[in-house]
Structure formats: C-alpha cells, structure tokens
C-alpha cells in the first residue's frame, strides 16, 4: 500500500501552505487521496511553519509522524523535525538557507538567474520534489498551470530548474488519474452553506474561521450573497438576526472568544425563534490560548450557551464531506424549525486540506421552508401542534410581523402572564421534538467497522479520520455522533449495542462527549485526551490505544 508523507518547512511568509498544497495537487494528479496538515504559530513572518502532505490510496484525514520526504526551506525545518526522519527520508533543502544532509537546491541562485521573485522559490522546490520522487514533469506542469494560472510560465521555468537540480531518489508510482477536488474544511462548510441556500454571511475575523470569511467574501462575486465584516462579534450576531428577520438565510462564523460575545444574541435567536447558523471553529483555549492550534473544548459551551432554555441544533462534522452535507442541513433545519444552529468545527478541520469525495456530499434534499397556510390574521408566534409557527418576512401586506426578546404572546407582544409564558415554553419544547424528528430521520451517528469489533472509539468532529485510521490497526470500530443536539440517544444506543468497550478519543481533558453520553445513560469507560493544541497523529493515537488497559 502506498502511503507517502511529505513535510515542508520554512518560515511564515515563505508560502509553506501553498507549497504543501501544490504537493497535494501533484499527488491528486497521480491518482492519490491526499490530506494536508498546516502547522503555524500566531505570527505573520518568520518563525517556523510546516505542512505535512500525505497521499494514500484510501481516504485519509490525519497526519503521520513518519516523514518520507522533507522539503526544508529553513534550518528549523531540519532541526525541529529530526525525530520524524528515518534513514529512508528523502531530504531536499534550500542550500542557501539550510546546512543539510540530502540534496541541496540553490534556490536563491536559480531565482536570481531568472529574475524571479522570492515567492517562486516554492515552485523550485516543488520541481525538485517531483524529480526526486519520479513524478513526471508534465504533472508539475498541469498542477502549476491550474493552480498558479496567472504566473504559470515563469513558475514553470523555475520549477524546471528545480527539477533539474536534483536526482531521482524514491519513486512515487502513479496509481490513477486525477482524483478529487482538494478543499479545506472551511471551503467545504462554505460550499455546504451555499448549497443550503445561504443568502448572507456575517463575521469578524478570527482563526480558524477567518478563511471561511475570506472564501465567502470572494464567492460573493459569483453567488447572490451578502458578506459583511462589522465592528465586532456582537454586531455580527445582531446584524445577522436582522438579516434573518427580513428573510435572508444567514450564517455567522467565529471561534470561542467571539462566540462568547455572540451568546446573548444566540439566546435572543432561541427565544424569539429567529433562525441563524453559527460556524464555531474551536481552537486551543482557554482565552486567547493558542490561536492557530486546535482543540475540542467547546462542546459543553455550545450546548449550554445563552441564558434560558431553548432548542438548538448542534452538528460536528468530522470530514469535508460531512462538513458540506451537514452545513447544508444545518442551514435548512435552522430555518425549518426556526432555531439557532451551530456547526462545531475546529482548526484541524477548518484549515486542513482534504480530497473531497463529491459522491458523498449528498446533495441533501434542500427541503424548503415549512409554509403552513396562513389563515386569518398573521401571528408570528401562533401556537401550533409541532410548535413551529409560520415564518413570514416584512413586507407582508396587512400584517405586523413582531418578534420579541421578552416573553410574548402569539402576536409577539410582551406578556408577563404565567400561563402564556408556560404555553410558549411548551411550544418551544415541541419545536425541540420536531427538530429531533428531523434529525432522527437522518443518519446522525456514523459507525465504521463496528459490526465485528468488541471495542470502538467514540469520537466527534475532526478526530474522526485519525480514529478511523488508528482503529483499523487495532481492529476497533469507530462511532461518531455527528449531531450533538438534539442528542441522538436512540441512534447512538443502537449503534453502540453489542460493542462492550467504548473508548472516547477527544482533544480535551475529561471527554466532553463522554460526559454527555453519561448523561444519557451510555457509559464510556476510558478516555484518551489530548490537550496541547496539536491534533493526534496516526502513530500517536495508535500508541495511546496500545496503552488502554
């Protein structure tokens, strides 16, 4: 089985992310499934960045520690990763910057000779990598023409020089033709939202969802989409609710710190029954923490955020296909049931690049807004059997559409009467049941290889793919609830049935999903935690699984 891992390292500003991505595209052209992890600190230039680009025959979404190729644009790239090398590691380095073993490439000299700007150093290295791994130059050419269309010619000249500067070392065989589109988790979320009918996106920049803002801001050229970046997250949330009230399917994006500021508006959405989707990308906390690293510490927070009780949808996609599918669903269901929804992601998913399996993204049926006939006077909160009132937007002839953060009556007028408060609370509870009915009709709990296994890993969000890979090595199954609220208790119980040992794998301390399972009477005995902001590598999780008694 082919399974290749390329580490590309350099300083921030060297374009390491792009370099890793070009390599992923080379693999893509060679027929491989790919995944790219991008590790960078919170700074703009300098420091140490690296990508790990992997290629394999089957679907992957986790990095490996073992490094087959190292492309070093800085000394740190060699020095900091030594423990990942073996004698088989092919090392290519920029001989102007690195004292290395392996093959040096005089990047600066090449650029100078061609009067090319420093950013083109990447193409030089990519060319060299292609040569050393036996990737034909025409593959490089295809990738550069597609990915750097604006400056393809010059980059190709540079790449060719890099190609010629080294010798073939370790061949990567072609295993097929072009595989898949390569997308980041952020892009998959954005596309899923667009698929679901997104009209507006409002966000204040915050890692790891800033790139979703950037992606959608660009997409606004091609889609009928309004993208706004307001003064802060409070404004984001309230502006979004204004857009929703006036009929636009709207989402917002942030990370934990920004989400804190949105919680008051989140409760407003819940109480006044205004649909909204929050893309909540987790990173390492508490507080500012490690802004560019990952974590899974906000499950409890998003489940309980906001004062008062109200139904909410929380989905935590584990791979780009789920990100696409469930983002679309989240938007659709938020609107159908008039509830706030959270797409709970994390830095690993948001900023990882994956081969997207287009067949697996659905597309889910975009069932339209529930359009109960309006008979008689329109009342924004009319009490219905399923708790869902007809949703209309101004201007609506002969009607005043009144939404209200106070306890209110069917017309949306403030009430303080105990009876009406109870009726409206019960109405929202029925909406919860309606929402539960919607999710029960979907496969909310994914399981992989559980039929024969006596042990399964329980996970949520981006740890899915590392769990799948590590579990296979141990003959374990994997169970992943994608929907976390309403909690798919029955589906989870039926999936778990017959698997006596459950090990939760989460990037937090105690296992937040694990505790949630306990709440629902589902015991989860062991927990594997990760708390340093780095995602599990396959080898690391593999070893940790070996330690579980």
């Amino acid at each position: 089985m082919n399974d290749i891992s390329v580490l590309t390292g350099g300083r921030a500003g060297d374009g390491i992310n792009s370099a890793g991505l070009l390599i992923a595209h080379l693999f893509n052209q060679m027929g491989y499934q790919t995944y790219m992890y991008f590790d960078y600190p919170s700074l703009i230039k300098g420091g140490h960045n690296f990508t790990i680009t992997r290629a394999a025959e089957q679907k992957i979404g986790a990095h490996r520690d073992r490094c087959d190729y190292l492309l070093a644009l800085s000394q740190d790239s060699v020095d900091l990763h030594r423990h990942l090398f073996s004698e088989n590691t092919v090392i290519l380095y920029d001989s102007g910057r690195v004292h290395g073993e392996g093959q040096g490439i005089p990047v600066e000299a090449i650029l100078k000779a061609e009067q090319a700007p420093p950013v083109m150093g990447n193409s030089c290295i990519i060319g060299a990598f292609a040569k050393s791994s036996g990737i034909p130059f025409d593959v490089v050419e295809t990738v550069i023409r597609r990915q750097i269309p604006k400056a393809a010619a010059k980059n190709l000249v540079i790449a060719r020089k890099g190609y010629e500067a080294v010798r073939e070392e370790r061949i990567i065989p072609r295993i097929g033709t072009t595989c898949c589109p390569l997308v980041t988790g952020n892009e998959a979320i954005g596309l899923g939202l667009l698929h679901g009918g997104l009209d507006a996106y409002v966000a204040y920049p915050m890692t790891p969802t800033s790139n979703l803002l950037h992606f959608l801001a660009r997409a606004a050229r091609n889609f009928p989409l309004t993208v706004v970046h307001p003064e802060n997250e409070i404004a984001v949330m309230l502006m979004a609710l204004g857009l929703s009230y006036a009929g636009k399917k709207t989402a917002v994006g942030t990370s934990g710190g920004g989400f804190c500021l949105m919680t008051e508006g989140f409760s407003l959405a819940g109480g006044s029954e205004i649909p909204i989707v929050v893309v909540m990308g987790q990173r390492t906390g508490p507080s500012t923490g490690l802004p560019t690293y990952t974590g899974q510490t906000e499950l409890g927070f998003v489940l309980h955020a906001g004062q008062g009780e109200f139904p909410r949808l929380v989905v935590a996609p584990g791979d780009p296909e789920q990100a696409y599918f469930w983002s679309s669903i989240a938007l659709t269901l938020a609107w159908k049931c008039q509830v706030p929804a959270v797409i709970l992601a994390d830095k690993t998913l948001c900023e990882g690049t994956y081969s997207l399996d287009e067949k697996a993204i659905g597309p889910p049926e975009t069932s339209d807004l529930q359009q109960s006939g309006i008979s008689g006077q329109y009342r924004r909160y009319s009490i219905t059997d399923n708790g869902i009132s007809p949703l209309q937007f101004p201007p609506l002839k002969d009607a005043a559409i009144k939404v209200n953060s106070y306890a209110h009556d069917e017309d949306g007028i403030t009430t303080e009467k105990a009876d009406m408060v109870r009726l409206m609370t019960e109405k929202r509870q029925r909406k919860y049941e309606a929402l539960k009915g919607e999710i029960d009709a979907l496969e909310c709990v994914k399981s992989y290889g559980t039929s024969s296994a006596r042990t399964a890993l329980l996970c949520w969000g981006s740890t899915l793919l590392v769990c799948k890979e590590a579990a296979k090595r141990h003959g374990f199954g994997v169970i992943q609830p994608v929907v976390l609220s309403p909690f798919p208790e029955e589906q989870l119980k039926s999936v778990i049935e017959g698997t006596p040992n459950i090990i939760s794998v989460e990037e937090n301390t105690e296992g937040q999903l694990r505790l949630l399972c306990h709440q629902h009477g589902i015991p989860v005995a062991s927990h594997i935690a990760k708390i340093d902001g780095r995602p599990f590598s396959v080898e690391e999780l593999d070893a940790r699984l070996g330690e579980v008694p």
Binding site: N28, R146, T178, C180, P181, L182, V183, E187, L191, L194, H195, A200, V202, A220, R221, N222, F223, P224, T226, P230, E231, N232, I234, A235, V236, M237, L238, M239, L241, G242, L243, S244, Y245, A246, G247, K248, E264, G265, L268, L356, P363, F393, P394, P395, L396, K397, D398, A399, A400, I401, K402, V403, N404, S405, Y406, H408, D411, G412, I413, T414
Partner: protein, 283 residues
C-alpha cells in the same frame, strides 16, 4: 387601506407624565406622514432595545423587532441590508445607545446605513429604576451613584457629528409638533439619521422645567454648515445650565452603506453549477 390608528391593544405601562407618550404619538404621526407619502405601512420596521423606551415595539402596530439592550442598530442594519426597500427605524434608550451599545451608534453613522435612530434620552436608566447614564449630569445621585455620578456626561450630538452622521437633530418630548416634524424629516433622510430626544422621565429625572426654560428652536441655522452645527451642538454640554437648541443641526447626503454593497449580477448559473465550477478549479 382603512385608516389605522397604528396602536396595538397592548396595555400601556409607562408612568403617568412620561415623555414616552409624546414620543409615541409623534412617531405615530410621522409614520402616518410617510404613509400619506405613499410608503406602504408594511414596509416600515421598528427596532427597539430594552428599557422603558423599548415598549414602543409593543405599542405601535407595525413590524417590529424588540431586540436586546443596546443592540438596535446592528439589527436595523441587517434588516436594511436584507431589503433596502424597507424603512427601518430604531427606538433606543440612552442607556441602550450611549452606554451598552455605543459602538454600534458610531458605526451606524460611519457606515451611513440608511436607518433612523431615535434616542429616548431621558438621561437615566428608567426601567432599571434610576441609575446614571452617559448623559446624566456630573454628580447625579442615582441608585448606583448615591454619592453622585463620578463622570461628566458626553455630548452625543458632538459624537455623532464626529462619527460622520449625515443627519443630526435634537428635539424633546416637551414639544410634540416639533418632535413629529423632526422625526418625519429623519425618516425621509436618505442615509443614517439620528435624533436625540430629550425625554422627560417623570419618575427618575424630571427636568421639564430646565428644558422648557432653556429650550429654543433653531432658526437661522444652515444645516449644511458643519462648523455651525458643531458650534450649536457645543452650546449646551448636557451638564450645565445653558440654552438648549432643538432642531436639525446638520444634514448631508452621502452614499449609503447598502448602496455600496453592489447588487450581484444575475449569476451565470444555478448555485449548484457555481459550486461545481468551484470544485472543478480545485481539482
């Protein structure tokens, strides 16, 4: 359409003598004026904060978004962006707009969103029973400052002028026709319009006497003259005993925020085609 009185059946719970009554009727009149001009009633949306002022959302029989404390302006901005055909106005409190959510007020002016913000400036937190606000005088003895407020007020007109507001006016609940007139003008102004209404709080800050004594209506004032507007606005600092001008201080037409959001060209294909095209590029 049958002449509607625009008042809901909700029980009114303002204190006797509260300036909000005047505001309610002034607003109703201004809205009737709009309707007479041909604005469909259903195209008007009121956004309120939380506080005594905000009960306007319950009392006026028009579209309303009774939001949360301090947040009228972003909500109104979202509504206007969603549908520029709507006439969107905010009833905010001074606690609301000058304390809890001051930043939004300044950004409303900066962006020149075409909304109207009416601040029920009673210079006190009414609904939470009488604490000082950013426009209470220095030394105000409210419940949170029994020894006197330790801060001088700011002058919200000056702040709005400094923020780029294209319509800056002041009126008072003591002058119903003036108030109706100013609100009507504000609603008609294209772009961000702001009206500071010196509203009497009968219970916690009844300075009717001051406003009656010192208040006068602007005349011979050119609202297109920014410096003159600043000078007039500086006349009274919300603290001392000085003449208090009511009227339109400043007006300027500028491109609005919504206009700068280019309407999208009819896209060449459906959403799904666009998505497919994007994915194709990523292959």
């Amino acid at each position: 359409m049958p002449e509607k009185n625009l008042i809901t059946g909700a029980q009114n719970t303002w204190c006797p003598g509260c300036g909000n009554f005047t505001l309610q009727f002034a607003l109703r009149n201004a809205i009737k004026g709009l309707i007479a001009d041909g604005v469909p009633l259903e195209n008007i949306v009121l956004v309120t904060g939380i506080g005594c002022h905000a009960k306007m959302g319950d009392y006026l029989d028009i579209n309303s978004f009774y939001s949360i404390h301090g947040r009228t302006i972003p909500v109104a901005t979202g509504i206007k962006l969603a549908n520029p055909d709507l006439t969107v106005l905010c009833c905010a409190g001074d606690g609301d707009a000058y304390a809890e959510g001051l930043d939004h007020l300044i950004f409303g002016a900066k962006r020149n969103t075409d909304i109207t913000v009416i601040v029920h400036n009673n210079r006190v937190y009414g609904l939470t029973t009488g604490q000082y606000t950013p426009t209470s005088p220095l030394g105000f003895r409210g419940k949170s400052t029994p020894q006197g407020a330790p801060e001088e007020p700011f002058n919200p007109l000056i702040l709005m002028l400094a923020s780029g507001a294209g319509f800056v006016a002041r009126s008072t609940s003591r002058k119903m026709p003036h108030l109706s007139g100013i609100i009507g003008q504000a609603l008609r102004h294209k772009g961000f319009s702001y009206v500071d209404v010196l509203q009497i709080c009968a219970t916690y800050f009844n300075v009717s006497e001051l406003y009656d004594r010192q208040g006068y209506e602007l005349s011979d004032h050119d609202p297109s003259d920014f410096s003159a507007a600043c000078a007039k606005a500086e006349e009274w600092d919300y603290n001392s005993d000085a003449p208090i001008a009511f009227g339109l201080f400043y007006q300027e037409e500028k491109t609005s925020f919504e206009e700068r959001f280019s309407r999208h060209p009819a896209s060449p294909g459906s959403r799904n085609e666009q998505i497919r095209a994007f994915l194709e590029m990523k292959r």
